[in-house]
């Protein structure tokens, strides 16, 4: 029940902040503009030629939007001095982190669905490749979830939300581009390519669903949340 209490508290905090709505509006406005430009491709007859690049655009702006959305989750609590209130209520660090992380997901899901609604509104006039579209949607959903976990972890290590946002943005970009050098050198395999988010995200965006790619995202989420939990538990110990 304490997990639910933290989830509801964080969701409420998120929904009453103008920042979340501004991000949603600006994000959708940008994606709407992209979609309008992509309509030319759609008119050529293939919905995925409009939908998949649109999801790619969403993935790009997610690197900026998700850290801004999540920057206050834990850094804000620390800055307000409200973290001890949660500790005093007997909520373990793991549930605080998980509750706050889960509260971000409905917002991200709404963002993804509203973006998808644009190309899907035109689906009746063509025959989309539903499998490819579903794979790309899964890929973006996993990517949003991973970026949110990364941002929560960054937020756990500072009292300043702006620093948390910058760190999460840089870590996200670093994780996406870590294999850039290897790619330029023509190296396709290896640990460096496995480490890169782009390796796993692009497979899904192309419509290739593999358990290994899904597990990579799940692993990233788990590691980030574990790091945030560890840091929060250390905070309680230190006082």
């Amino acid at each position: 029940m304490t997990l639910l209490a933290v989830f509801r508290l964080e969701l409420r905090r998120l929904l009453v902040q103008p920042l979340a709505w501004v991000l949603l509006a600006l994000g959708l406005a940008w994606l709407g503009w992209c979609f309008t430009r992509l309509l030319g491709d759609f008119l050529a007859g293939e919905i995925q030629r409009a939908a998949l690049p649109l999801l790619g655009q969403l993935a790009q702006i997610a690197f900026l939007v998700v850290p801004l959305l999540a920057m206050s989750t834990l850094a804000g609590e620390r800055r307000n001095g409200t973290l001890p209130l949660l500790f005093a209520a007997g909520v373990p660090a793991s549930r605080i982190v998980l509750g706050k992380y889960l509260a971000l997901l409905p917002w991200l899901l709404a963002w993804l669905l509203l973006t998808l609604a644009m190309p899907l509104a035109l689906a009746h006039t063509t025959t989309p490749d539903w499998g490819k579209l579903a794979a790309a949607t899964l890929g973006i959903a996993l990517m949003l979830a991973a970026l949110a976990a990364l941002a929560v972890a960054a937020s756990a290590f500072t009292s300043h939300p702006a620093i948390a946002a910058v760190v999460a943005l840089l870590l996200g970009l670093a994780l996406w581009t870590v294999n850039l050098g290897a790619q330029m050198a023509g190296i396709d395999g290896g640990a460096i390519n496995w480490l890169a988010m782009s390796t796993h995200g692009q497979n899904l965006l192309r419509g290739l669903v593999s358990t290994a790619d899904i597990l990579w995202f799940v692993l990233l989420v788990a590691v980030c949340l574990a790091l945030a939990t560890r840091r929060l538990a250390a905070d309680k110990e230190r006082g």
Partner: protein, 253 residues
């Protein structure tokens, strides 16, 4: 405090509680007991260890050594006891600035295990008792410090705790509100709630407390009864400890 209440088993027991903070001993070998209905004033200069002690009692901070028992049970092993039994108003009453007064009470209630009708009933009662109706829909971020203290107090009392821990509750309150706070503390004590009141204002202690504990450099230097007409004696004792760095043995004498 009635004789019946004082004879009751203690709500709170601290047994040789020790805690280090920022590389120094903040609280050392602290022993303390509090019976239902008792009001304990906790005095000490800045850095004496009062807030650290209160944070440990509230469950926000773990002691390095020693035991804290609530109603006879070790709450370090059962953190949910603090959630149920302790109400805590931390210093400066921290709030979520983007939430309203009502939303604060809901969030605190849920965190303390209240739901549905029980939460609504408790929320209504505390809003009425602390006269928070005009502020109910106001955002906490725009409340004055005095209003924030009242909100913090409401959150601490919402789940009807057996032990109320108040850290500088009179901060930023006007004289009328201080009077109302004293009345509230007496009312809680009469209902059997044990109260710990940490303050720098000695007159607060003589006004509402029936016991006083004085901490200095993390150690308990005095623990004894206090009377409303005993202000001068309390002042002498407090300054004797705070200014002269007296040893515990000398003060106990």
């Amino acid at each position: 405090m009635t004789a019946a209440l004082s004879a009751a088993p203690p709500v709170l027991q601290l047994d040789r509680v020790t805690r280090r903070r920022a590389g120094r001993v903040a609280v050392q070998d602290l022993n303390l007991e509090l019976a239902p209905g008792q009001v304990l004033g906790l005095l000490g200069v800045n850095g004496a260890g009062k807030s650290t002690t209160l944070s440990m009692i509230a469950g926000a901070l773990r002691p390095d050594a020693g035991a804290i028992r609530l109603n006879g049970e070790d709450f370090l092993e059962r953190p949910e006891l603090a959630r149920r039994l302790v109400g805590w108003l931390p210093e400066r009453a921290p709030v979520w600035p983007e939430l309203s007064v009502m939303e604060h009470l809901d969030a605190h209630g849920r965190l303390r295990g209240l739901h549905g009708a029980a939460l609504r009933e408790a929320r209504g009662a505390i809003i009425e008792r602390l006269e928070l109706q005009p502020l109910a829909r106001r955002l906490a971020g725009i409340l004055s410090q005095g209003q924030r203290q009242r909100l913090g107090l409401a959150c601490a009392l919402l789940h009807r705790p057996a032990l109320l821990v108040l850290d500088e509750p009179a901060n930023a309150l006007d004289p009328v509100q201080v009077g109302a706070l004293r009345e509230l503390i007496r009312e809680q004590a009469a209902a059997g709630t044990a109260v710990i009141l940490s303050t720098h204002v000695l007159v607060e202690v003589t006004a509402v407390c029936d016991r006083v504990a004085i901490l200095h450099e993390g150690r308990l230097h005095h623990d004894g009864p206090v009377r409303a007409d005993d202000h001068a004696a309390l002042e002498r004792r407090f300054f004797g400890i705070a200014m002269q760095g007296a040893t515990p043995a000398a003060c106990a004498a």
